[in-house]
Symmetry: C2
DNA sequence: ACAAAAATTAGAATAATTCTTGATCGCAGG
DNA sequence: CCTGCGATCAAGAATTATTCTAATTTTTGT
């Protein structure tokens, strides 16, 4: 099922809103959110921690983990896992998968062709309730 | 009707072969392989360790990890990850995904409907080479 | 402003996995 | 049959992402 287009996420370059999706904003959560939306390269918690020090020099790694968990649990960002590598975080809420390019090590969002619904192509027992889907591909993108 | 298996895997109840897919068999590797093929419930390394002690009381956990890695790297079994939970191992080599039933905590293999090819329903740049696909669903299976 | 609740911090603790080191095995050649 | 040699195994230490703990700070509601 495709999530309805989000109630337009707050502009990361504007003022900090009081809350997002029911999650009370704090300086730290707002900066983590801004950073994720601004740099959509699926950073790890530690990468967020390093990058965010520019703006919040005293933030702790534990707080970065706390913020990421809060944002994730309120459906504001998505946690993405590749094998047993450190979790990465993604502000793209639309149903999509991830392509891990072996050559460059980069991660790219991938979407279904229009009109395709994953549940329709899988052989599942009638009545199955799907709450979450994760698709990960590995390979090489064509040299651009 | 069962789809033909690519490389007819050795019968786990027969004699230990000298090798499987180029991997030299040892007592430990063979028992790990037998256990996975015999109990297709996607055990973790630790669960394999516990269960295998019946037959190899002196095996170490490190050896179980070594065996699982060797079997995985030779394409004899598949490593499956759910979020950051301990890796699980699966002897089903056919292209398939995994469904994690929240109610029972069990994991079930899922396959595409006949004739469906995942690459055909994804919006990928022409020329993309896919070497590996992982599909994970979470939800609830109908009460049977 | 004050009490209560929530968030942050720093560092300790946890847990899956990997690494290190030394012992052991299996086998090929003498 | 011995001897070496490379691969494997065992035991425990080390690593590392993440979570927990306890104390402090910030925010909220009255």
């Amino acid at each position: 099922m495709v999530a309805p287009i989000q109630n337009s996420k707050p502009d990361p370059s504007g003022e900090m809103p009081a809350e997002i999706s029911g999650l009370r904003m704090t300086k730290q959560r707002w900066e983590v959110y801004r950073l994720l939306v601004g740099q959509r390269d699926h950073p790890t918690a530690n990468e967020v921690f390093i990058r965010i020090k520019d703006r919040l020099p005293n933030i702790s790694l534990a707080t970065v983990y706390n913020c990421l968990e809060a944002l994730t649990q309120h459906g504001i960002v998505r946690q993405v896992n590749f094998d047993r590598e450190p979790s990465r975080f993604c502000p793209n809420l639309e149903e999509h998968g991830h392509f891990h390019d072996k050559k460059s090590g980069t991660i790219h969002d991938i979407v279904f062709k229009p009109g395709v619904n994953l549940a329709d192509v899988l052989d599942l027992p009638a009545g199955t309730v799907i709450t979450d889907i994760e698709i990960t591909l590995r390979g090489e993108l064509p040299t651009s």
